[in-house]
Symmetry: D2
Subunit: 347 residues, 4 copies
């Protein structure tokens, strides 16, 4: 009954198989091997973007901050949600990699609205050189609070960015979960709606440790490569990053893994709803936030459920606290059923 | 009728005199001259802090960010008001000089409250190494919105910082105006209430371009000196910075200049009050924010008054807009009277 | 006949086995899992340093620059060889992670001498705050030119660093190869001779992508953890980094792999010597640099040998060029013999 | 007999006059005042560059590093002399302001030669993304060792930079001294020979604290302004920087001051030559380096001469040491004669 994170579970068996298959003979390092080239092509094909520049990096934070470093000058600011991972969970990595660019937090609880984004953008650059220049807009899909922007919502947000000629970064740590949830293709949820740089996450969706950063306009390709190496993020035995992605692309494994995780979350949401438990998100892909009295959370944990609670409040004083349930590809229907049963007992 | 800024007026004549007097013979550069040493002693004496380390820098932003760079590691965050100069008007200089530390904006409209500060501090460091470490607390006195913290308010804020062993930085661009307003000594408004690093501003109070950064515990002295030079902020002909400060200290010129500016603001506030004009600040030293319909502002400007309006809103759509009136040492009673007369005419 | 790099070969089979074994069930991410704790203990045991702080990172550059970032203030300089990996092959990563510290290149062709190091150190900090503060000394063992410092040479170098109270960083990308070559224990080649922070490399010695950074004095542990996360270098599915190290420690695999690579290099050196080929290094562990006419290199390559030539000169004009042969754990006696045979044919 | 630095003397009286004249009434800060605009035009006129972007900053280091920050990406390197001020005397400021770009020191004792520069440039970018990208070439004129590149030497160096499409930065802390020495116009010694960004120094040539940074192609103007503010280097009471430059331009004061300083140096060189004292520079503008036994230097200092010795060696062990004599505008013939007399006595 492990729901604490989609970083906690095992990797899909196809990944280990691919790693073993890649583990023969010699190949140039640093991305110069045939498998890496093949995988980059495969990602371009998946995203229907034959000219895109594709890079693999070992962590999600790396993917985000290297992308932003190419989009956001040091004297500019990136617009994002106040609960964005880049703001809350990267320990100043964005500020570091952009050499001191700011993050302008667009007021709201999770998903940005076009109105709030527009107001935030308008609020910058009205002090001449005294304040930062307007920089990229960063959107997380699936959001950190487990919500999924609809395609219309994404288009509306991106339209605001385009009004100001600002580039758009998509933090796709859970890209696959969103694409599956919405029933859209990767191209439809990225460049076709105006995303300039997309992070296609792997680690949270069954891979060992790899994310793809995709620049649909390859003009920044050289800069990215220098910054990646300078950021100590260029994997020397690169074929092992590529092998994970190769497994991910083969037979649409990325879609299968996300479908499984999403289904488990649907099952959870259904059960929570039946039990009349308050849930915070109004949409979901593979994560749901729910509210229970402290004692109930503690009882659930005592029954063996592992998940974080308090995540959204930061306070331990309250009686009713928010818990977060994250479903990964490996979670079974039986485990979810066991959780729901325990839940019904402790309520 | 110039009220746009306290950076706009002439410098006090005593400053030019001091510059001329310092302009004889040869002296070591970079702060190694006798006048610089004498002035550092003078500031220590004024602040009753015989062990303090004192440094002169040419801009207010420099003073703030060099101070913060010694107090805030790159992986930490500084707590400040959402309208703090370090956040709104330094074009990412704090992020630059601290190598990417964040600024945590303590919710509120201007002055931080102990409760809000405590909540913000509590909100950090609850995610292990995923979020920044708690760093210094930065307080501006006089605030950017023209308010003056009372001594009790300062003590209460600083007590919160001390609860968490966080160092306290005072942005004293208008330090003198505040000290005069409150009728306290520099020591009373700095180290005696727990301020660790104080910026004693000169530029806004009649000097040409110099601020003193005072570290009451001299342990950081060496680090500051390296960072100042590295920041391209070590003035080579340093005696000319020192000469300005020498004039400032002599016969308490710093106090006289601030007293004059404050008095002009009292006169303004009295007049605005009589005219039943809405004012935003509940206290004032040398700045007041007032609200009038757009047309009235425009009429006032047409009558020759120079000041910024919209400062606090960022929006040009409103009919009623906020204007900012700043009084410097050079402003005369007659000029203020002329303004109030014009005001009464256009209302 | 692949000698281009020790980043090019397959990983040891024990590594894949360990990854598969680690791939069961759920575990906290970011290093909070039991395997990671067990492996840290194992490294402490191997290094006979029960109080050391041990961290795993995914790349060699990451290990070096995160170590340096904790040892070298932004206004200081790190002393290293002109051919040090941190200077030549990390694309400004040291300057980035230290927020702009310099690298002072100690004159010499590869191994630093105590005299040259002392002169370089003396050459800094004689300009007051105008030049950088003296920072750490960084030693690579095995050096980038394939040489192995003797224990006496290391002690003499470190003694110089200690004379100036400067911390010592050991770039141990090929640590195991050196330790095996010298017949010393990890403790003997690190903290026992005064190394403060040691990088215990895995990637070049048969692992997939992991290095251990060992701080013998754990005082910097908290800072390192913040900087690692901020550097986007904290692996979320950390147990897979740990599993590689677990395999490395088990049955002294680290020693076996290095022994094999070193033996292949001995075989190469013996053969080159018999063929009267000029070699540049006077010592060797698993790398040898040799000089041949361009045409001979080309013939060798045409015969199927893969290695870099020109490495040490940067010029393509010369007739006699330097080639670099690197032996990894996977190289067989037969392959080396085949190379030597081809060599003797083309000479 | 003060020869220690051209930062040590008084400022030219015309400067104080200009400051006093500027000290009337109110003017927008931060460079938005009429005098600042007039002076920028004046510099454009002086340099015959009607489209140039001109900026004033308070220190020479600021001028250099802000210029480099616009020319050199963080993952690149700037080529300069090993004794360049940007390397030896700016305490890592270039590395800081460029966010970690390197400095590639072109081998040589002072003036770079085209051959050495070409070799250094060729030495970079031959390791793909493992080493930094080639960045700007930085030339100091007058050099730190007191030499003056001839126009042909400058052209030859710049031609090498242009071969590689690298921008050229001229550190002109002593620009005027060089232009006067060579009998060329500012335009002839800058954009007409291919300099992209020129620092027109004022502080060392009789001003109080101001340098002009001139971008002949104004494309970088916006970026510079953001970086200057972010660097805490935007002077708020900007008209006082402008006033100094206004005095500098008026009646070619810049030329007069430099002519005087150069003449005093000619007088010194003549005297040193007659006394058969070894001099290090083969050319000179306003600085000469000379060699005497330690005891002789000490005797000269005891006789009242103030200057640095050992500058070029860093060692105190030698019997024969190098001293540096710097002439500023204020030095009189009589003072120089007195020095030469004392010299002849102690020899």
């Amino acid at each position: 009954m492990y729901f604490a994170s989609d970083n906690s579970g095992p990797v899909a068996p196809q990944v280990l198989t691919a790693l073993a298959e890649a583990n023969t003979g010699y190949a140039m390092g640093y991305g110069g091997d045939p498998l890496s080239a093949e995988v980059a092509d495969g990602i371009r094909t998946l995203f229907e973007a034959p000219d895109a520049a594709v890079f693999l990096v070992p962590t999600g934070t790396a993917a985000n901050v290297l992308a932003l470093s190419c989009l956001c000058p040091p004297y500019a600011t990136t617009f994002c949600s106040p609960v964005a991972h880049i703001h809350e969970d990267e320990c100043n990595a964005p500020e570091f990699f952009t050499s001191g660019a700011k993050l302008t937090l667009v007021p709201g609880s999770d998903r940005m609205t076009p109105e709030a984004l527009r107001a935030s953008i308008e609020g910058e650059e009205n002090r001449g050189f005294h304040g930062p220049k307007r920089g990229p807009v960063s959107i997380t899909q699936v959001t950190e609070a487990g919500n999924v922007y609809t395609m219309d919502e994404l288009r509306a947000l991106i339209a605001v960015a385009k009004d100001y000629s600002l580039p758009v970064h998509l933090d796709g740590a859970r890209f696959s979960n969103a694409a599956v949830k919405l029933g859209v293709t990767p191209a439809e949820m990225s460049w076709k709606i105006g995303v300039d740089v997309c992070v296609f996450g792997g680690t949270k969706n069954g891979l060992m440790g790899v994310e793809a950063v995709i620049f649909f306009d390859p003009a920044k390709a050289e800069e990215f490569q220098y910054r990646r190496k300078r950021g100590a993020l260029l994997f020397s035995k690169h074929r092992y990053l590529a092998a994970q992605m190769q497994a991910y692309l083969k037979d649409d494994l990325w879609k299968d893994l996300a479908t499984r995780a999403n289904a488990r979350c649907d099952q959870l949401v259904h059960g929570l709803s039946k039990a009349r438990v308050e849930m915070l998100n109004d949409t979901h892909a593979n994560m749901v936030f729910f509210r229970l009295p402290r004692a109930t959370h503690e009882a659930l944990q005592a029954a063996g459920a592992v998940y974080h609670f308090n995540d959204m409040t930061g306070s331990t004083a309250e009686t009713v606290l928010t818990g977060r349930l994250v479903c990964d590809w490996n979670l079974s229907e039986a485990e979810v059923a066991r959780f729901l049963e325990a839940l019904n007992q402790v309520i």
